[in-house]
Symmetry: C2
Subunit: 490 residues, 2 copies
């Protein structure tokens, strides 16, 4: 098991701890704050509610979390060391000195700094080649972006290894090829922040109005395409040049005067703090975090279904997780075909809940349908086969709810082939949390031609795979609840 | 039926036309471009694919779309006139003169201008009091934000009427109380654009890297909370003042030099256009529009489930649409209780489709479950009742798929109460597109105490309402398919 050292807790360090821990790493924390354990624990608790549900496959078992009194202890055996101490260059340099006295020479030392360049951090280091900037975004356990900023002192192999590690915990490392103050994203945040301060100061808009202007408009656009692709589309078939010819001249519009920096007076701070209280003071920060995380998870899951932007990153990560967990993808991989096949293992995400505080009924069918999809894949009806024009349509479904299913529960679906003949297959799914039965589903699926939309015989490969599974499972006892109709007395 | 005049087509004018048309308005277009009808038609076609599915209730029937050779014809009878002609003040002023010669004196004249202040547009107008800025965002048929910028010449009653009209077509009017060049949102876009030009020009990042920095990071955050709420959460319990004390000083960091405007040379234009081609040239603009719209619909639907930001705006709009469409919400409103009750009417959204190119099975159950929820509301098990601790859990479900269901189809669910005794109700739903039967669902639901999570008797009100409906529907013939088990021979 790989080990990460977290140097400096707080919201960012805690977020890193959660990222690694929930992706199966052992995490060793050093933070002199006597409250560190509680604070990091709160961040990890938040992450446990939201992160596992981002995946459509179960995360590996959590690693071991430990707190240490010294940096030397914390970095023992760590292959990744993430530094998130306060933004003071002298402090950071001192921390690197101590870390490098004790850590493995081939460990990667990533800094969460938003302001310093990697060359500044490497400055007085004994081994500058192992230090890079890995600047994350809050909440670190959900946001994919990490700005990875190396210098020419870092070997290409180390940069590659850093990328792989970050991808391994589900993140999107953006390789910033030329170091610059504040990297990339924060430069934009700075630009927007300056403009926002002016608008509030001049009484044009309140903090709430500015937030609405963002989240009802370009914020939604930017969650999926960024600045340039958004404008590329806006420019239409005439292309990006045309768009720039229209938009470029705006740069000389009169409001460029507002690029001055507003004076950061107490009055301005009070004005903004007061407006922010009026806007959101009715919610505690804890509540806001929960709302934010639920929103982020829901939107990123929506983008997963479109396999786009952050959703595509999550799908990639799922693929890797699913392979590592040994989920069966091909009939040849079935260890013992005489047993029900595990076709789903996943945590219940926040967007699967309803007003009764448990998993809503349509998501049971989604999990069962995903299990049918996996069974289809296993028997040879995969994406490639479907592209050739064959598929299965579900004709009929019967679901029995046995027990409630809750947020974060890891559910597993086990699948049996009860019959498979000509154009029809009869499936039986059971959903479990541990060994507790939650629900059963019985389905008839019809093999079809996607061209005629009519029933069509199985391909020989599908027929053979189905026969193999059906015959191997034929000795299992008939499932309890098979062939029942709705309302049938027990 | 209300009428809107669209003066000037193109992407923005076409988007407005689609907004009004799909929300039931008659739309009269004037655009001298001989290609206008085709171009606007393409925008409306896009909108027809995505906008209806944003609602969980059916939109009203589309209005009538007509094209006119003169502004005088286009504005005849229009209560809303939306001007989206090119951004030249003299042209706009001339257009307003002509419009005001022919339009109703109490019509609202909204300008899509992104650059001009309303006082500039009102300048030489005969009736300045009817002109306001209503600045939308692309794609206008999906994005909620409209910046509504009046001046002191506009009566408060007109401003209110403008807001109501914009809300009536599902938008979020942001009342900009003090006019300013470029209003609010575009100032931020300008600030980000300037910074982006620098980063590309200086070779720090490509257009693609910048887009990733946005959409993998703050873009997702800003789709739900804006700038200030995001920072409020980041500041933690210490509050906004604490956050500003940390972040404020950044304003004096060295990169403020980059507030200069980069020179807009041909080299820079070519550099950006070339990078943009490398990034997204493999997709046509049409494809990108479809991807964008699918993403936006999916994410906004995700936010609906959280009832937050743009999702909350959509839910509000649904409530209004549902009431206007006469959907039954209370047992007293049932016109003829001896007939099945229409409990759902909605268009199939893009995120309900699967790899077979039709509505995926779990969304059938979602529509049926929503129908059960509506039936619960009708019999008195509404949100208020659920808050007191009573609810229904589904115990068992049987779904039969009769026909395929496609993107944009308006589906209707009709519901019967087959039995209701003690703690159980037995429901029968049929899903139709027009009079074509698509699927049936049979359910047993159990009334429960949310405290004990155990079965509990109906409240007297629920019992009485169920009895009333059950008895009134008792003379209907038994539904075809009732009590069948999976795989039962016909």
């Amino acid at each position: 098991m790989a080990t990460a050292a977290i140097i400096g807790g707080g919201v960012i360090g805690g977020g890193w701890a959660a990222r690694f821990l929930l992706n199966g790493w052992d995490v060793q924390v050093f933070d002199p704050d006597p409250e560190a354990e509680r604070k990091i624990g709160e961040v990890i608790d938040n992450a446990r509610v939201s992160l596992p549900g981002l995946s459509d496959t179960a995360l590996p078992p959590e690693g071991r979390l430990s707190f240490h009194d010294s940096m030397s202890e914390a970095v023992a055996g760590a292959s990744w060391i993430q530094e998130s101490v306060p933004e003071r260059l002298e402090l950071k340099r001192k921390v690197y000195q101590t870390l490098q006295e004790h850590c493995e020479a081939d460990a990667i030392l990533g800094s969460s700094t938003s302001g310093f360049k990697p060359s500044e951090l490497q400055g007085c280091a004994s081994r500058p080649e192992q230090i890079v900037v890995t600047h994350p975004f809050n909440p670190v356990y959900l946001m994919p972006l990490v700005e990875l900023v190396p210098t020419e002192k870092n070997a290409p192999a180390l940069i590659e290894r850093a990328k792989e590690t970050l991808k391994g915990v589900g993140m999107f490392p953006l390789h910033v090829r030329k170091e610059i103050d504040a990297h990339i994203a924060d430069r934009f945040l700075e630009a927007v922040w300056r403009e926002a301060l002016w608008l509030v100061k001049d009484g044009i808009a309140t903090t709430e109005e500015i937030d609405e202007a963002i989240r009802m408009g370009f914020g939604i656009r930017w969650a999926q395409m960024g600045l340039f692709d958004t404008y590329r589309v806006a420019g239409g078939e005439a292309g990006m040049k045309h768009f720039m010819a229209q938009f470029g001249p705006c740069l000389e519009w009169p409001w460029t005067k507002l690029m001055d920096v507003p004076e950061f007076t107490d009055e301005l701070v009070d004005l903004i703090a007061g407006q922010s209280d009026a806007q959101s003071g009715h919610m505690s920060i804890r509540e806001m975090e929960r709302v934010r995380d639920n929103n982020l998870v829901s939107m990123m899951r929506a983008l997963k279904a479109q396999n786009f932007a952050s959703g595509a990153v999550l799908n990639q990560h799922d693929k890797k997780l699913s392979a590592e967990a040994g989920m069966v993808r091909k009939s040849a991989d079935i260890a013992d075909p005489s047993l029900p096949i595990v076709t789903q293992r996943r945590a219940v995400p926040v967007d699967w809940l309803d007003y009764n505080g448990h998993m809503t009924e349509s998501r049971y069918l989604q999990a069962f349908a995903d299990a049918s999809d996996r069974l289809m894949e296993i028997i040879g009806c995969d994406q490639e086969y479907i592209a050739t024009g064959g598929s299965f349509f579900t004709a009929e479904t019967h679901i029995r709810h046995i027990d409630e299913t809750h947020l974060g529960s890891v559910i597993e679906v086990r699948t049996r082939v009860l019959m498979a003949e000509g154009k029809k297959m009869h499936l039986w799914h059971e959903m479990y949390a541990g060994e507790k039965l939650l629900a059963t589903a019985e389905h008839i699926l019809i093999h079809v031609s996607l061209e005629t939309r009519r029933p069509a015989p199985f391909s020989p490969e599908i027929a053979a795979n189905l026969k193999m599974i059906y015959e191997a499972q034929a000795d299992l006892p008939a499932p309890d609840g098979l062939g029942r109709y709705v309302g049938q007395p027990r």
